[in-house]
Subunit: 293 residues, 2 copies
Amino acid sequence: MGREGAGRFLIAPDPGDARLTRAVKGVDEAGASAEISVVEERPLTIFLNGQEIVTVMTIGDYPEYLALGFLRNQGMLQPGERISGVDFDAELETVVLRTDGETSYEEKLKKKTRTSGCAVGTVFGDVMEGLEDLTLPDAELRTSWLYSLAQAINRTPSLYLSAGAIHGTVLCEADRALVYMEDVGRHNAVDKIAGWMLSNEVSGNDKILYTTGRLTSEMVIKCSLMGIPALVSRSGFTAWGVEIAREVGLTLIGRMRGHRFVCLSGERRLVRDAEPAHVMSEERRHQRKGSRR
Amino acid sequence: MGREGAGRFLIAPDPGDARLTRAVKGVDEAGASAEISVVEERPLTIFLNGQEIVTVMTIGDYPEYLALGFLRNQGMLQPGERISGVDFDAELETVVLRTDGETSYEEKLKKKTRTSGCAVGTVFGDVMEGLEDLTLPDAELRTSWLYSLAQAINRTPSLYLSAGAIHGTVLCEADRALVYMEDVGRHNAVDKIAGWMLSNEVSGNDKILYTTGRLTSEMVIKCSLMGIPALVSRSGFTAWGVEIAREVGLTLIGRMRGHRFVCLSGERRLVRDAEPAHVMSEERRHQRKGSRR
């Protein structure tokens, strides 16, 4: 697929963007000088209607989507709330988001939950808020899509491939990868996708969320709040992540490597239409370095 | 090394502890039933002198060390402050830490920074606080120690090896791995080590911190605040992590795989005393799955 694959994305990583990486000089094990490409990590302070909410560490692309998605996934912006402005100031490293009405952040700021793992971030208020009445749609999830998506994503030029030390999350529809975000924090990559969806009024109903990181409670909660019925990862699970996925009826697929995967929740959506023999030969041709973390 | 290696630890992972993992049933790609071991992820709410500070998601071992190390690494406990009690309540999922004097958390609670990557967590107050006057000691760091440590750590039975989806951090002294903590959040693993050091009045001066995760700003800051002059990882760097390490004079080694590594800060401590030929043969015998993330 290669470049054609990348060309199909609405948003793909831009490893050539000079603002996102830096060449850093050092030495290797033998004392020889080594210069490697290292991802940037910048503070971005998010304001909502004049109130400072949080400072996140990010690679710095798509600050507006990040702020919008973060506030939405924290329940600080209600669905349907009218946003009157999103202003990014590169010098001050701030994003100010303004709404027409009152927002309900005061109460939420009092309770902070520090979430786990690579997904880690801050969840304000009740972490399960908004999940009680959630119904995820009965969309189907074809195994042939999963294999095509994994192959397209793994072959797309990315900061991961050029510099490492970064996480990726991809919004997909059937066998098409639409929006591929990367960030030093995996939760940021997901929030940027949520911000893009909100800005473009894109529904999660017929989408699949693919992530490189672990399927922790935070990832499962975010995906569910985004209305996306399927979450797929190369990495493993946590027990609470699985529990929440089962409660909200999310299809949860992990440890996806080549033709193999494990589904621990929402199997009813799975349609096994792929030909394993074809998948395995593709797999041998295009291997990506693996890890269980 | 195997069991003998593990026997040298003061604290080693306990993958047999039934509270830390759960067997979860699902299906695989072919529809066959699959049962896998999945790590637990539980909330733990930390109180300081009656004030609720934060809820962290953790596997749940060593809650007292986690609370102590978290509060210390956030600057909410000053060095030398007398702790009059640390009480864990398993049912309420809380740890209450009491000090004799007044603590300075009120101001810090106002400013929150959501840090990046796998190291992600919440940093209250000024993230750089306490780093201005820091001087890390001129300890030496032998390459032979690095290779021995990596081999001992990789061969020690762990939740990572039995269930995956977890991060590890190890406090080391010369070629000896002392305390090996794992957690769903890498920052928790580091905080548990900080809590153990504080409880046992162990200095960081002659120590090395080994981590499986990325060398983000948060990891570099925590390691420096713990007074440990060397931070080593199998994973990569972020640019800000490197910058802070150079400012405080921390030795920062990443991408360590077998005999290879890159040192981007504090090279002056490195003593290259290992025999590469020996290391490479060891490496072929005991390989651990790799990843650049």
